[in-house]
């Protein structure tokens, strides 16, 4: 069990470490747009749109590992005082909520992504790219979030002293 939890955490850590570099891609795309519009006087049709398409995957992939880091915002004024079983129980409540959140996002986003794929949906802009790959990061991140919630639950239940 502990191995499973470590593997999940390692996977999400890896994805976090990959996703964080996307911000520099966004920076370069925006600078390129500024340059081509202002200096070359011919704005690209694709750079700003590509930047917005990267933005979703960027922050979504950060979410699951953030759960491990305890970086999601929480109001801990009351729960910080809890100890023993109560503390474990409260932690589990939070993880169940995260898993439910992920499950519902997954359940409802998969059909939409499939639909986008089968329609060959494009953004209908001057650049007009297909957009299902960007949308697909929502169900992917939802699965990863559920897995991370599971991993954290394993840690809480089987290695309480490490928490």
């Amino acid at each position: 069990m502990i191995t499973l939890s470590r593997r999940i955490t390692a996977l999400n850590r890896g994805l976090f470490a990959f996703a964080k570099w996307l911000i520099y891609a966004i920076v370069l795309l925006m600078l390129w747009e500024v340059l081509s519009r202002y200096v070359l006087s011919s704005p690209t049709s694709w750079a700003p749109e590509l930047a917005t398409l990267i933005f979703g995957p960027f922050f979504l992939l950060g979410g699951p590992y953030l759960l491990h880091l305890g970086g999601h915002v929480a109001v801990d004024v009351a729960s910080a005082k809890a100890t023993g079983r109560l503390a474990v129980g409260l932690k589990l409540v939070g993880l169940v909520l995260a898993a439910v959140f992920g499950a519902i996002l997954l359940w409802f986003s998969v059909p939409l992504v499939m639909q986008s794929f089968s329609y060959g949906e494009t953004s209908y802009s001057a650049w007009n790219p297909i957009i299902w790959p960007a949308k697909a990061f929502l169900p992917l991140s939802a699965v990863l979030l559920m897995l991370q919630a599971l991993a954290e639950a394993i840690d809480v239940l089987f290695e309480p002293e490490a928490v």
Binding site: R37, P43, S45, S123, Y124, S125, A126, N128, I131
Partner: protein, 314 residues
């Protein structure tokens, strides 16, 4: 008698004129059905973003939406022709005639049916203007300008030599103000005056060739629609056709009133020569053909071209 309660996601902002007409639409449906169909309208973005309403109605979160087919033209190419066509019909009556007299309505229904949605009826109204920081007196003057357009219009304007930036609507004011772009489309004449575009663009160009006429549409979830009785269905159709006429006339009058306000604010109104526009229309047809990529969209485009030829627009 039982009351059917529906929710409708509209695309307009809360408190705007077209949103008031959606409230009138709902009131009219209630009146025509003797109160048996109650529709609660929600302003654009209040519950889901306007561009996402298609899937929300499909999924059953709403029974009805007032949408702009252009939002889904990336999924369903026909929607490029049932929403607005750059250099298309110059008069809203002509466009509405295509829907009701030349099979446009049936083809629009056909385009929505596979998604489990029922196209009820369009609301058709006239041009949206182009705002410019520089004088543009003929189509050829567009060449070399930096502009903001969306949808098929961005491809057509690019064909006429405009470098198109896909800026969000909320950036139009400041982008014109700071000279990021030379020309832009945004909303209708009244809405653009209220947005303050007269402060940042000293030229207003008519007709708005990028969007000479527009159709927004009432689209229902098919399961919910089929559960209505004949009177309720008829009430939707009647109320929709009424709103199409009343909103169009309201915009017609508002356009006159607000063009005057633009002039009073020191904005020069430039009218393109109709001959110039007609010649450009022939060139725009090339972009239409590229956008018509499946059977329904091709049939829509061809029937529109046929009607335009009869009306001597092409």
């Amino acid at each position: 008698q039982s009351v059917t309660k529906w929710r409708m996601q509209a695309l307009w902002g809360g408190g705007t004129t077209p949103m008031l007409y959606e409230e009138k639409f709902c009131a009219r449906v209630a009146e025509l059905t003797g109160g048996s169909l109650e529709i609660t309208p929600f302003a654009g973005g209040q519950i889901v973003p306007s561009a996402q309403a298609f899937d929300a109605v499909r999924g059953g979160a709403f029974e009805l939406m007032k949408t702009f087919d252009g939002y889904t033209a990336g999924k369903i190419p026909a929607h490029g022709f049932s929403s607005t066509v750059p250099f298309g019909f110059p008069e809203p009556d002509q466009y509405e005639a295509w829907f009701y007299e030349r099979g446009g309505l049936e083809m629009a229904r056909e385009s929505y049916a596979p998604a489990g949605l029922t196209y009820v009826a369009p609301t058709v109204y006239g041009q949206e203007p182009i705002h410019s920081r520089v004088p543009v007196r003929k189509i050829a003057d567009l060449k070399g300008l930096k502009g903001r357009f969306v949808g098929l219009a961005s491809a057509v304007m690019a064909d006429f030599g405009v470098s198109v930036s896909p800026l969000p609507t909320s950036e139009v004011y400041s982008a014109l103000d700071k000279g990021l772009i030379d020309i832009a489309d945004r909303g209708d004449i009244k809405a653009n005056f209220e947005e303050g575009l007269h402060e940042v663009a000293k030229y207003l160009i008519l007709p708005g060739v990028h969007q000479p006429t527009t159709a927004t549409s009432y689209v229902a979830n098919t399961r919910a629609f089929d559960a209505l009785d004949a009177q309720q269905k008829a009430a939707l159709a009647v109320a929709a056709r009424e709103i199409s006429g009343t909103l169009r006339q309201n915009i017609l009058v508002a356009n006159g009133e607000y063009i005057k306000k633009f002039q009073d604010a020191g904005v020069e109104i430039i009218d393109f020569d109709p001959e110039d526009v007609a010649q450009a229309r022939a060139k725009a047809v090339e972009a239409w053909k590229k956008a018509a990529t499946d059977d329904i969209s091709k049939r829509m485009m061809e029937s529109q071209i046929a009607l335009m030829q009869e009306l001597r627009l092409l």
